[in-house]
């Protein structure tokens, strides 16, 4: 019964998406200010649709929780003996379930937009909801026609096949949902951009409506990428934190576009400049989200992360992708000319710096996009290649370095036009820091170029992030400005972690007999014993490593090599020793014939700063949203108060005795 309710809810939601689309489109036919009688259904349709789609997802969640083995999806992805948490997270650890989550979030954000956004003109809102309905409809069709999550088995399975052990991790509980919410949050930015373009409402008040959605999606993407990077780092046991894997790139590309969009929306809101550019980035950001979904879900790419491989579904998503992106860019090309030119600005101005960084972000996006798609392209000609760090790192850095330098200066510039001479002290300080740190570090040894540049830039950025606060009363600095400072500081922190990891990491690989000791950096690692252990659905061999720093009190680390029995698979569980200045990363390997065990240990100085930085960036975004909301609430309160006072005055006027003529 439960899955049938879910399926019915999905069909109803699809029908409502049609209603929302048609009704929203009628709003366009209404004259300025008037309300078309058929346009009033769009908002309620979006809200009810959100309710139904979320209901469908909850039904699937319930089916996984009780391990209903009559459902094909549950039988092929779950197991009755699994811990409850992983039963629940298994809901989105597979193709159908994750697409249902995608669609659920899409409908939910559409519903929130329809329910709470009252600032936009009705025509723009109608057009926006029509576009949102159109996007949702395509994905409902995809779900219902080619990947029905609620399909029953003719005969219930006796037992489920289990969930990929790599996915049985707390990382899966948070990583995909946040990323999806980020991806799909950008769909609202897309719909709003199309709505504003169609009704010619590209102006600062539109930007203020758009901004929280972009900021919210961006915060979720930032958080999702950070969590995903850490998850891959400790779960895959390779000691790396970013692999330039296509699936990782699929999440990085929307982030790059969203970062550019977020900054250009701010320019539009504050200065009424960059109108068409903002619209284009809105289209681009969601296009990258859909491209990411296509890459991950279609299995066209070789990737250790792509767990579901199905080309037919890939063709379906590719069709949707072509329809939406092609349609959006066609409308953009037809309507962009009608958008009036925004306010102008000089090259040396805050807008100028933001435009420069927007272009640099787009260039990095192009580098990542081409590098990700290149193997697909060559495969058509039967040449098989893979593209990795030797391409991405230098090619990305060529654009990232100027971008980071401009980022250090940009927030110090004035809007509209500024004289660089005014910032002599700041410019000199930033240059001195970059050169000084690079010179200092090179004095101590030979390091690769990119980490060296990274260290110099990190130092300069960390200081430059706080320069906008110089000479201001800290108590009166707006919350949103603190958000910017924090996010920019987070970039410096993250960059510092990446550069340290790249420059100073040490690695030791050895076969060790029990009782033997290996030295790495300041650490002495002693293999005390290797014992078999068992968990709820796995068995493992576990090493007991005593790690002592500079002869200090030893700490015990327990890396494991696990064997899961449903599905049968082995994973390597790394053991981490976190100190304030870095992490010791230990993995146990196979046993050699003579009884020694392979141990691999890394000392990675300041590697944790990569993720601390990511969290700071996300926190900065949250502060920016909080700051905007605070200002908005204040303004609304002021408006209400003003209205009340006027009403009072009017009431008084009425009550006061009318002087006799």
């Amino acid at each position: 019964m439960i899955p049938e309710i879910g399926l019915a809810a999905l069909w109803l939601a699809a029908a409502l998406a049609v209603l929302q689309m048609v009704s929203g489109a009628f709003a366009l036919k209404a004259a300025e200010g008037a309300v078309n009688p058929l346009a009033i259904y769009a908002r309620p349709a979006a809200v009810v649709q959100a309710f139904l789609a979320v209901l469908a997802f909850l039904m699937l969640l319930w089916s996984f929780a009780i391990t209903d083995l009559s459902i094909k999806l549950v039988a092929s992805n779950s197991h009755s003996m699994k811990p409850l948490l992983y039963k629940l997270t298994g809901t989105w650890g597979n193709h159908e379930g994750s697409m249902l989550l995608w669609v659920g979030v899409l409908a939910l954000s559409g519903g929130l937009l329809a329910g709470f956004e009252k600032r936009l003109p009705e025509r723009t809102m109608g057009a926006t909801l029509a576009v949102q309905g159109f996007v949702a409809l395509g994905f409902y069709a995809f779900l219902l026609l080619s990947s029905n999550p609620f399909e029953r088995l003719p005969v219930p399975a006796a037992e489920g096949t289990g969930l990929n052990p790599l996915l049985q991790d707390i990382g899966l509980a948070i990583h995909p949902p946040t990323l999806y919410a980020g991806y799909v949050g950008l769909s609202v930015a897309f719909s709003l951009a199309m709505g504003a373009l169609l009704t010619n409402q590209v102006n600062p008040s539109f930007a203020r409506v758009l901004r929280p959605w972009v900021l919210g999606a961006w915060v979720l993407l930032t958080f999702g990428i950070t969590a995903g990077s850490y998850w891959a780092y400790y779960e895959l046991g390779w000691g790396g934190w970013w692999f330039w894997d296509p699936v990782e790139n699929a999440s990085l590309m929307p982030w790059l576009a969203a970062t550019a969009l977020m900054h250009s929306v701010s320019v539009l809101a504050a200065r009424d400049a960059l109108r068409t550019w903002t619209i284009m980035l809105g289209v681009l950001a969601f296009s990258m989200s859909m491209l990411g979904t296509f890459l991950v879900r279609s299995g066209v790419l070789t990737s250790v992360h792509a767990f579901a491989v199905d080309p037919e579904r890939g063709a379906f998503i590719l069709g949707l992708l072509g329809l939406y992106i092609g349609g959006a860019f066609t409308i953009f090309a037809l309507r962009a000319g009608a958008v009036a030119e925004g306010k102008r600005f000089a090259i040396a101005s805050r807008e100028g710096a933001l435009v420069f960084n927007n272009v640099m972000l787009s260039a990095i996006l192009a580098i990542v996009l081409l590098g990700t798609l290149y193997p697909l392209l060559t495969e058509v000609f039967d040449v098989r290649v893979s593209v990795g760090p030797p391409y991405f790192n230098p090619a990305g850095a060529i654009f990232a370095i100027p971008m980071l330098l401009v980022m250090a200066v940009g927030p110090l510039l004035r809007w509209k036009s500024d004289k660089p001479a005014r910032l002599q002290f700041e410019l000199a300080l930033i240059a001195a820091l970059v050169i000084g740190v690079i010179a200092l570090v090179s004095f101590f040894g030979q390091f690769p170029l990119l980490p060296l540049l990274g260290l110099g830039l990190a130092a300069a950025l960390a200081v430059a992030a706080f320069l906008p606060l110089r000479g201001r009363n800290l108590a009166r600095v707006p919350v949103a400005t603190w958000g910017m400072v924090l996010a920019h500081f987070g970039i410096a922190v993250s960059l510092f972690g990446m550069a340290c990891e790249g420059a100073f990491s040490q690695e030791r690989l050895a076969a060790v007999a029990p009782g033997g000791t290996e030295q790495i950096g300041d650490f002495a690692v002693t293999l005390e014993s290797v014992t078999p252990v068992a968990g709820p659905n796995w068995t493992a061999i576990e090493a007991r490593l005593a790690v002592s720093r500079d002869g200090g009190e030893p700490v015990i680390l327990n890396p494991q090599a696990r064997n899961f029995w449903s599905p049968p698979q082995s994973t390597s569980e790394s053991a981490l020793l976190t100190r304030w200045d870095g992490q010791l990363y230990a993995v146990i390997g196979n046993q050699a014939e003579d009884g020694r065990w392979q141990i691999r240990v890394w000392w990675k100085p300041f590697v944790t700063f990569i993720w601390y930085g990511g969290l700071l960036i996300a926190l900065g975004g949250i502060l920016a949203i909080a700051g905007r909301v605070k200002v908005d609430v204040k303004r609304r309160a002021a408006v209400t108060k003003g209205a009340e006072r006027r009403a009072d005055v009017e009431a008084l006027d009425v009550a006061s005795p009318v002087p006799a003529e």
Partner: protein, 153 residues
């Protein structure tokens, strides 16, 4: 008039940067892309010594030998013909690295004709197989395909 002018300049700058990025990408992709070789291809037309490439094939039965240090292994990779490429690798072997199983070795060819692997990709799990091995056209590939579709529809 002047407004149009500024928009035009912005568009041109943006286009130059993006096209520049595209050209840079195209140029460095040709140099940095990591080509895939089957053992017979590597035997007949070997890549330059030191160039980063990938070698994919089957681990030959009985060929895995561990050196005295306990962490360096030598083995042979075979493809559809009798050609076998010797591979040396130092590190922890992937969990499913066994004889007669598929493997993709990332690394470069040494001057002595031994392929020095920096990373081995074996079947990472039940559902993952190095994509390159799908085109092998041997009974092993068919066997592997059967193995790798467990749990998939």
């Amino acid at each position: 008039m002047k407004a149009k002018h500024q928009r035009l300049i912005l568009v041109i700058i943006a286009l130059v940067a993006i096209v520049g990025a595209g050209l840079l990408a195209a140029w460095s992709l040709r140099n940095q892309a990591n080509y895939f070789y089957l053992p017979e291809q590597m035997a007949s037309a070997p890549p330059e010594v030191g160039q980063a490439v990938r070698l994919g094939g089957m681990v030959k039965a009985g060929s895995i030998k561990t050196e005295a240090d306990g962490v360096t292994v030598n083995f042979l990779v075979t493809g559809n013909t009798a050609d076998a490429i010797p591979v040396r690798y130092s590190g922890i072997l992937p969990d499913l690295f066994v004889e007669n199983s598929g493997v993709v070795a990332e690394g470069s060819l040494g001057p002595d004709g031994v392929f020095l692997a920096t990373n081995l990709l074996a079947k990472h799990d039940e559902n993952y197989v190095p994509k390159e091995l799908e085109g092998m056209g041997t009974d092993q590939a068919a066997k592997m395909a059967a193995e790798t579709t467990v749990g998939l529809k």
